[in-house]
Amino acid sequence: MAKTYQYCVAENWGKGFIDHVEAIKISFTGLPGNVWQVPAYNKHANLWIAKVSGTVKTLSEAQAIVDAEVTAAQTAWDALSDEDKEDNPRPSDIALTE
């Protein structure tokens, strides 16, 4: 089946990481572990991954990174005080799709 999304790991360096034109042309979803979900088979997304020197990940590789980050965040959340828990929702599991 044709893929809808592709994944890469790239650290947001700030200004210019996602520029205005890219924001218009590409649908970005930032995930734990600096994993970014962008459209598959998309010229603009492919150019963006190259621009940010992103490391392309398969679905299972991206899922493993996200799972590890979410598990760590859930463990940290469980140790919070009740007041802090009120202010911050417990990180949810994230199921990636391709």
Partner: protein, 612 residues
């Protein structure tokens, strides 16, 4: 004699940067030594409009109605209803009921010339004709059924297709109405009920989605096009579903909502060959009805998946509107959540916040110039989180309240260089919101357990440059809301407890409740100039969200989402040029990230040139 412009054309203007360049213009940017071109990007969005008077599912409608002239009839309240309502683009008005109360019926026609047929329960074959004032019984369908699809230009020419009758498999039967009688014509290729209505006319229609019946009951993506004689299979919907609504023609249609079996807000647009997903509805709806075109549609009523879940919701879809976008700005030096900020997209200040867990608070202040953040002098009072602020830009502002820990009313004034402590708020609190300037500000809402129940507050205070004075309360007390504007024209939205989408408008004297956010949430961020122009982004609903909504003075409209879900950050700027700073996101609870928003949809492209 010909002018230079007539002979040679318009000269390419020389502009340093892009200030003053207009859409469609080609110019030479002397700052970058590049030729540039500006164009307008367009997109699609849903707006939540005024609700029906009667909430109901399995509602029918005048399928050739428009976004500004629609008719809704029948449905299940419970019980079955014959209630009919007319929409003028702003409000629904109750008009005369149908003779036979029914739900899951077919519909066709316009606001002034409509037809309804079939429905349940039991399964009806009866047909009624609407002349703009009254319903009149006319000749019956040949096959009694409910859950059928229907369409037609007016009450003289309609098509009925599919549906179900108790104890039988889903129908493929199609019938044609000539203004007097129904005639059986060629069947659908795939019999089904829960089929979409409302696309096309009796000589050129589209049937899509639905439910196979009997078991296994399966949601269908099947699409068929009618040419006046036969149904032909064409490309499937991307998302199989039943109980959805439709609008448009058989060459330009829109599929809205439905059940997969979960109730969804999925929207797909049909170009005559394929379906493509487009902007998701603000609120999920199934068993709804629709009208309009695939660029200006309306959907109303239905079921949202909750219990009992019958809704009066009306939503309008528009294509070809200015498309805003978020892109990354400079990273802050200190990652934090529960910070506060004021200013513009190119001149903002942030202060305070939580930088670590548990309860590590900061006095740090940073200033943004549109590109980079610079650390400047710290707050003089205690490190704190959950404060609010007001200020025109990064040279002048006010920070007030917060949790240090312990709720405080401390107020500090920023002169562009240092903070000076000034008079406290009357009510110490945290999780409040503020707006205005260093000399004329508002502080409202927040949490203040010391004041006794309720913990969340509605108090509003006004700052005149020297002192805080209590003024009119919000109608709904809350904390972790957002607010924008000035002391004579402000807007408050979102917050908790409980989690709310309530929006209130301040006119300089009083708060008035207006239309809610489409997504109720707290820990939300905002930007805006006054109570007619605002942007709401991120927050918790109760999961962190990337949802963005724009306020036009009357309604909230969905906008392009943030690149990452974000809560408890700070927002500054305006509806068309905003900043989202820090907060918690999936990678960290103490983010340094800045996102910049351009709501104009203008894109500047550099025209690449090569030289030998």
């Amino acid at each position: 004699m010909a002018t230079y412009k007539e002979s040679v054309g318009t000269a390419v203007q020389n502009i340093a940067g892009d200030t003053g360049a207009i859409t469609g213009q080609l110019w030479y940017d002397s700052s970058d030594s590049e030729f540039k071109y500006k164009y307008q990007a367009y997109g699609s969005a849903w707006i939540t409009a005024n609700s029906l008077n009667t909430a109901r599912n399995n509602i029918a409608g005048a399928t050739s109605g428009t976004q500004t002239a629609s008719l809704a009839f029948g449905g299940f309240v419970p019980p079955h209803t014959g209630a009919t309502e007319s929409y003028n683009g702003t409000n629904w008005t109750e008009v005369n009921d149908m003779n036979t109360a029914r739900n899951n019926a077919g519909g066709a026609g316009t606001q002034t010339s409509a037809l309804t047929f079939g429905g349940g329960s039991p399964d009806y074959d009866s047909t009624e004709l609407w002349n703009g004032t009254n319903w009149t019984e006319v000749n019956d369908l040949n096959t009694a059924r409910s859950g059928l699809g229907g369409t037609g230009a007016d009450n003289t020419a309609a098509l009925a297709f599919g549906g179900e009758s108790s104890g039988t498999a889903a129908h493929a039967d199609t019938e044609l109405w000539n203004g007097t009688n129904w005639t059986e014509v060629n069947n659908l290729n795939t019999g089904r009920d829960g089929i979409a209505s409302g696309v096309g006319v009796s000589t050129a229609a589209l049937a899509f989605g639905g439910n196979s019946d009997p078991s296994p009951l399966t949601e269908l993506a099947v699409t068929e096009t009618w040419n006046g004689s036969n149904w032909t299979d064409v490309a499937d919907l991307n998302v199989a579903r039943k109980g959805l609504a439709g609008a448009g023609t058989n060459t330009a249609a829109l599929a809205m909502g439905g059940r997969t079996p979960s109730v969804v807000g999925t929207t797909e647009t049909w170009n005559g060959s394929i379906w493509s997903t487009t902007a998701t509805m603000n609120l999920v709806q199934s068993l709804n009805s629709g009208a309009g075109t695939n660029t200006a549609a309306i959907t109303f009523g239905g079921y949202d998946g909750s219990s009992p879940g019958n809704v009066a919701t009306t939503q309008e879809f528009n294509a070809g509107i200015n498309l805003g976008a978020w892109y990354t700005g400079g990273n802050m030096n200190t990652g934090r959540n529960s910070l506060t900020g004021f200013g513009t997209q190119t001149a903002s200040l942030v202060a305070a916040g939580e930088t670590g867990s548990p309860d590590v608070y900061t006095q740090k202040t940073e200033s943004y110039n549109g590109t980079t953040w610079a650390e400047v002098n710290d707050l003089t009072g205690s490190a704190r989180r959950g404060a609010a602020s007001a200020g025109a830009d990064n040279t002048s502002g006010l920070v007030f309240g917060g949790n240090a820990p312990g709720y405080t009313g401390i107020t500090e004034l920023w002169n562009g260089y240092v903070w000076t402590e000034v008079n406290d708020l009357n009510s110490a609190r945290a999780g409040l919101s503020g707006c205005g300037t260093a000399t004329a500000a508002l502080a409202f809402a927040g949490k203040a357990p010391a004041l006794g129940p309720p913990n969340v507050r509605a108090e509003t205070e006004s700052w005149n440059g020297s002192n805080w004075t209590e003024v009119g309360d919000l109608n709904t007390g809350r904390e972790n809301l957002s607010g924008v504007g000035i002391t004579t024209s402000a807007l408050a939205f979102g917050g908790r407890d409980p989690v709310t989408g309530k929006t209130e408008l301040w006119n300089g004297s009083n708060w008035t409740e207006v239309n809610d956010l489409n997504t109720a949430r707290f820990a939300v961020m905002g930007a805006g100039a006054n109570n007619t122009s605002a942007l709401c982004f991120g927050g918790t609903d109760p999961s962190r969200t990337d949802a963005v909504e724009g306020w036009n003075g009357t309604n909230w409209t969905s906008e392009n989402t943030l690149p990452t879900v974000t809560q408890t950050g700070a927002g500054t700027g305006t509806k068309t040029a905003a900043l989202c700073m820090g907060g918690g996101n999936p990678s960290t609870d103490f983010s340094t990230t800045t996102f910049e928003w351009d709501g104009t949809g203008f894109i500047t492209k550099t025209i690449t040139t090569t030289t030998d």
